[in-house]
Subunit: 678 residues, 3 copies
């Protein structure tokens, strides 16, 4: 288990370094992340490289048994470099150059920038590839962040045209797939192609718009590959390569970004957003999303350690909160916890972005809390080796669908991401573990697949969803399933398109449910017949309705009013050995939970621990070696009151080593780590 | 009666065309609109024209007795054309070029674009002027739509200067009329003139700002004339020429746009906006506005046929709704109903803009409903020949005043258009027919003129308003009447300026009524004396108050509080044989309706049918030939409940041919068509 | 006492001038402001000057004993001038040129514009420096207004670099002070320096951002100095020089702008903002702010005289309101009242900005009210000679802190300015006089200093605050005190930094209080112990909390809940002979008033008049000559009801000359002026 902080030796006087290293050692740290953003210190002028300061820092930390993850500094190109090639700046959709400011002002497709990247990364790799204290590499920093995934410069236009040529082969094919005949938009030469930039009505062909998202993601992935190739060719495999990602961030296809990496990393700030009651499930979702990128454990390379702030500050973590969130990260698969940042900087844009130490640099409340975690991890870490989270439920997440919904949200304000989150919430609140995976990932080992808004899918994924169900799996699909082709056109078939047989339904009519429209849900036709428009219904439908004709499926819930009263809102179909559910609308929480409860009961999907009070999260990391199965169960009280519950059996308390069973009372922010081997 | 749909053969494989034509025939269609936006198919590269596909489509429809209205394709210039002359793109007020995207990316003042327009329109006209199955022309599509009426390119600046030279004759005159001496803005050479573009505080002289609106409208009208001239010179008068307009759209002066056309057309999507209860009167107003443009019946060239959507979808029409709205259009003067669109497109920006058929192309619920209308029209159409709506009430609508209020709304959020709509609503709810006409139109035949916010008027209109009243007419004017000159300056006289004698009042003091200010209305001074500030008053004033000195008029309502308590809020003046009302404020609905009720009673203004329940609309189309008077009365139930009412006498039911009298019960969405001849 | 209006002879036909002068004379006017914005009339083409019209206007007013303040016309450069040097236009942060429109379209750093300024000001000065009827000069108009203080043109970039070179001496020093090492932003040559313009994330180093504000303010101050130098060198000291400022406007450092002027002027529109109940204290604060700029009386060169309007109108002043606000201005130190404007203009952008006369130009309600003031001033004016407002309380206002909070508001939506206003409100509502002064002003004569949010201060100010307290003064400081250095970096010390000894506290932990978080306040630890989370507390904390460790101070209020429950929210420390209070949070009004009441009681700070009802304002202007002390007390009823109160002793009524004592009843809008000599 790696445990440490982000540290920027270049921000502090060298005399201070040793104090910091000593305090880190005291806190139980064994790793620091260094050098990201330090380009100006490594190459203060073109071609003149300075690594002595970094050599000294690494050596100092080595002296204190603290290892180093190095970041390449490409998120912070110096002004001397940008001034030399102003074409490296990004441009926005109106053509404004996005000048020097925060960071990340570079266009990933710029050849000049790629050249400079090559030089600095090569020099760093040459310098540290054999350093025994350097244990890994982080590429750039938060690729795509702060709205830098999409650039509208002329260079990007040319790269986009090349990308389109590659994708479509011929202009005829592109015109056909996008449907450019609409409004005479057909292109008659490749030179006519353009980015979806500022235009009348700001309206662009959905094919063009989605492809530009794909191209932009691909461009960043390709830029990452440039660095990966250098590091791979020069560095040993004992220095794994990662980049730090951002949970629900979606300007990049994180599956593509993760694929070539050795390990995924996450930056996580659980207390940054408001609505404290929702933090646990939203942060849980972010972790599970990261674990699902490669189906492996991950690192946390920036873990919140204080109140973040660029302009207006977020909450200061209350006593016990940093520890609580740290354990959530570990429980959900983190094999490294690196806090951001060690000490609050006294200047520049993040002067209010609080670290473990305050500006004054003396140990305080947050230091003591982190130190406690460090001590606890001495006992816990060994138990975690080789463990990860195993789930019987998977939810599919597809960036292409997410982008398509952002481009055309269907119902005003509708968000694919939020819709997914509400499905996830059910399982999180009941401590049933869920993997978040790509439609292209393996479905082996799962019993239940939640497949929200699968408007488009690659052919292979569609086949595998069918096969999964046929072989006995249970799936949940919902509205807009099968509505589109991969090129963002509508399927010219009756809905749900390719899933008609699987779901046993046919849909000819549909529409949105406006916010001021109240559409009830009922369980039977008898209820529907008795209901009048003014009645209060047990459930409520939102966002969308399909008018379903049953083609073998059975209805579970019915719409209660409007012209589709009595028509099915939820159906179930037996397909092969399996079962396929379809939700024709967005269910209110109670109806959704009722449905999921019944599905979980059918499948015997059990929580990690039974009988936990509301607000208490339980996650299990496990390892199976032959017959041998080791479990480490984390129980975390996110609520503001003492939580009492009865353990189902006897466990070892990993922090104390003692046996524990029967009634346990966990205080707010309390964390219990249970072991069992069997 | 023309009945059909918009069809885009270029969007579908040719094998499908015949299926579509056959289904249309089945639905009772006799017309399609073709070719608008199809430039790229007609001229795939410069100078190479291809009409075979269109010839074939027209021939096919001819085979099924379906005639054709052709649209010129200039709303969709192809990319090859825009790339050749990038100066044709519009520019926004900050100088950004509005690039290729949706459509309408052209500047109407661009000579290059006018040249290409000339060529394509001429070629089309030559191709189809003698075609017996082509029965009309639509110029461009929704001129001015999606914010394209105003362009800020350099070419427009030069055109604007020429327009100003024409208007003002000399720079001295311009400086004088605009009052440029303010803040040293005087121009000393014509070259100094500029558009009201991006500037400090984004503040521009009101004369400049209003003239730019006028110039922009004139530019589009002139661009339409270019096409009109070609079509008129080449095509026979059996091919009438129109363009499709958009109800309450106001970036163009629709009176100017309509004047040279043979017939006005309307695009109408009644269910696109929310607030279902308001749709009937707002859509009614849009139809009446179109009928008033030329004082003639009109075509509907795009009638809603499904849920519209570019990014987020609007409501899907409920069963019976398409039929209901279709009859409202016909009742209010439509001689053509052309649905937009036949089949929902499976690609491009309008892939969610639903047509009669869903994406899959098979007949469904909406097809059956449209087909029912088609069957009904066989009986009704002949009765409608030569009929139109006749009203005794007219409301004046003036784009110049509307623009002036948009530029300076007086009270924050105030809208001329909405103010008008609330006046209209009274008459609509009571089924008293109203014409919406220009101040420059004839007032003959009217008994009551509603004249909202007539801040400025041409001299001739002012004279005719006086004459109308003097000869016995009744007028209703309100606040800001007579406040400005045509050049958007304030009149340097005591209010209501030129209308002082007509209205019998004088105004020296006035102000806005802020939203958090409560100003009551009372009927007599006695009430006013008794009232205290905290009392609840029978009526409430909003937006504006004038402090009126009576100069012959009598007070009808008084303000109840504030420093103008006891002063008149509504006055009546006898002028010649007529009566002139003045409203010094915006009345609450109850007060307004009380006032209008009394006026209607005085004038014996009757509803089309007496005793209709709320939500039931009745409109009469009539024809008078000598002594003979034929009436077709449409009764439409917009409410959600059965509507029971008693007919005043016996009618023929136009759909069934049977006699009908006594109590009638009309179900929701129900339509009754009554005939009477006498 | 100067009393008059802004007049624009160039806006009206010359035949009208005499009518206006005569009416002004009738109203008791003795001054007009002329010629600002009249550049085009004084120099209709380059180098051709015309002053006859102005000579005649000045002579005419002289004939009516009305003197003249002349404005230089540089806020309104003519189009011929701007066209000649388009580089004079400002640019916005995205590089858009802000073209010709309202006014103020010039860049203050532009050498061409400075050259033209030089010529026109010199010519005016030469023309009128010896004119006996010209009694003063106003430079430009509302410098910095309508967002013109900051320009992003290339010329400004060069000027900024020069400013930075001057400030920091070396690039090393700049890099060090800003902390540019963060994200590799270090500059390696001066040419690399840039403005905080459009960039990724629009994030800029706080040092850069604050320095750009300072530079921008300095640029305008320097531009004013250019005009000052000309006027000073050519004109006699009998023509004092001023510029008109705007109360709470903060794009410029008004202390710097005021310093070189002979007298400060204010433009004040009390009825322009909504919330009538707050107008009195907010307008009072604006006046006191102006008086504090130089510690002297000031002129009002634009005083509201009607409803203002550019696009949407504000309230029309009710009868008595103009008089009421006029007396507030006089009471708080105005030695001139010049109404804006004499007559409402009938054209151009301010055609709805109402003056004393309506558009029609005949005397009406507002004229009569102003005339009444004119008559009253004949009696009052002589009493005011040499008097000013004297306060024992001062509140420090620092533009640099205000800017720093705008750049980083700490808590979302927090405003330094509004925080100050709430402190001021306590004293205003109790009629305890307050000066608003710079931290660099003298503290002599004050007993209480309110020092809000003093995040940064110059070293000298910090010393003087200590010295003031040590010598027996009382100070009130609050959260963020001492947190930053003057270069906008955080102090690398424990809070409150340099004020730790003074305040007797130490702070290690802090955070924001989100709007949905309820943090109570209590008076004792016993209360805190008894309280539970759900309890209602007597007080409530907002915005911010510091967790205070007492180092000699005593606690006055405690936080009631959250993890810092029982910790001090307000402390008091004895320091030398004085007392230092610290507020660790934003107190609810009741708690704040309780605290201030206790402080005022301790210091025997008395209201101007005791026992006044709510909504009644009393201000005292006084003069001391040796032992002799003359007081003129203004009592103003801002409430909507009659206000009854008992005078503490006998006074002379300045308007009537009679003696007045005992119970007085003042009607709404009523003003009483009391004299006492002793």
């Amino acid at each position: 288990m790696l445990f440490g902080a982000c540290y920027y030796p270049e921000h502090w006087e060298q005399e201070r370094w040793e104090t910091d290293a000593r305090l880190m050692k005291e806190a139980g740290f064994n790793v620091v992340r260094l050098a990201e953003f330090a380009w100006i210190r490594m190459e203060p002028e073109e071609g003149r490289y300075e690594f002595e300061w970094l050599d000294q820092a690494i050596a100092l930390f080595g002296h204190y048994d603290i290892q180093v993850i190095l970041g390449t500094p490409t998120a912070g190109p110096p002004k001397w470099l940008m001034d030399k090639h102003p074409d490296m700046y990004q441009q926005d959709y109106q053509g404004h150059v996005r000048g020097f400011g925060t960071r990340r002002h570079y266009c990933a497709n710029n050849l000049n920038y790629q050249g400079y990247t090559n030089k600095i990364v090569t020099r760093m790799a040459e310098q540290y590839r054999e350093h025994p204290n350097v244990i890994g590499w982080q590429i750039d920093n938060e690729l795509g962040a702060i709205d830098t995934a999409r650039c509208y410069c002329g260079n990007c236009r040319l790269a986009f045209i090349a990308w389109l040529q590659q994708r479509y082969g011929s202009l005829e094919q592109l015109n056909e797939e996008w449907g450019t005949i609409f409004s005479s938009q057909s292109y008659t030469s490749w030179e006519q192609l353009h980015l979806p930039a500022y235009s009348v009505h700001q309206g662009h062909n959905p094919g063009l718009a989605l492809d530009f998202r794909r191209f932009s993601s691909d461009s960043v992935v390709k830029y990452q590959q440039l660095q990966l190739d250098i590091l791979r060719s020069l560095c040993p495999s004992t220095q794994p390569i990662t980049t730090n990602m951002m949970g629900s961030f979606n300007d990049l296809d994180y599956y593509d970004l993760a694929a070539p990496l050795d390990i995924v990393s996450l930056d996580i700030y659980p207390i940054m957003k408001r609505v404290p009651e929702e933090r646990a499930f939203r942060t849980g979702l972010n972790h599970d999303t990261m674990r699902g990128l490669k189906g492996q454990n991950f690192w946390v390379l920036e873990h919140q350690s204080g109140a973040p702030c660029t302009y207006a500050m977020s909450s200061t973590p209350r006593p016990g909160e940093l520890r609580r969130w740290t354990y959530q990260s570990i429980a959900r698969g983190a094999d490294a916890i690196v806090y951001f940042r060690w000490r609050t900087l006294t200047y520049a844009l993040e002067e209010f972005w609080h670290g473990i130490l305050q500006h004054h640099g003396e140990p305080g409340r947050r230091f003591e809390e982190v130190k406690q975690v460090g001590q606890e991890l001495r006992a816990i870490s060994p138990l975690l080796a080789g463990t990860t989270v195993k789930a019987k439920v998977a939810m599919l997440k597809c960036f292409h669908n997410e982008w398509a919904f952002e481009l055309q949200p269907h119902a005003s304000g509708y968000e694919y991401k939020e819709h997914q989150a509400q499905y996830y919430r059910y399982f999180h609140e009941r401590n049933i573990q869920v993997d978040i995976i790509s439609p292209d990932a393996s479905f082996d080992g799962y019993e239940l697949l939640i497949i929200p808004n699968l408007m488009m899918a690659r052919e292979e994924a569609t086949k595998r969803i069918h096969a999964f169900t046929e072989r006995g799996g249970t799936i949940v699909m919902d509205f807009r399933a099968g509505a589109k082709e991969w090129n963002n056109r509508m399927l010219p078939q009756r809905l749900p398109g390719l899933y008609a047989d699987l779901l046993g339904i046919s849909i000819d009519d549909y529409g949105i449910i406006e916010e001021d429209l109240s559409i009830g849900l009922l369980e039977s036709e008898a209820e529907a017949a008795a209901a009048s428009d003014s009645a209060a219904y047990p459930g409520e439908a939102a966002t969308w309705y399909d008018v379903i004709e049953l083609k073998g499926a059975e209805p579970l819930l019915l719409f209660a009013n409007d012209y589709f009263a009595g028509q099915p809102a939820v159906t179930r179909n037996r397909y092969g050995q399996g079962t396929a559910y379809y939700l024709a609308t967005e269910l209110d929480p109670a109806s959704l939970h009722g449905l999921f409860q019944s599905i979980c009961a059918d499948l015997n999907l059990e929580p990690v621990l039974p009988g936990l009070p509301s607000g208490v999260e339980a996650i299990c990391r496990m390892r199976e070696e032959g017959e041998q199965r080791s479990e480490v169960i984390f129980v975390i009280n996110h609520s503001r009151v003492d939580a009492a519950f009865t353990l189902d059996r006897s466990y070892a308390d990993a922090m104390t080593g003692t046996e524990i069973s029967g009634v346990v009372v966990l205080e707010p922010n309390g964390v219990l780590v249970l072991c069992s081997t069997g």
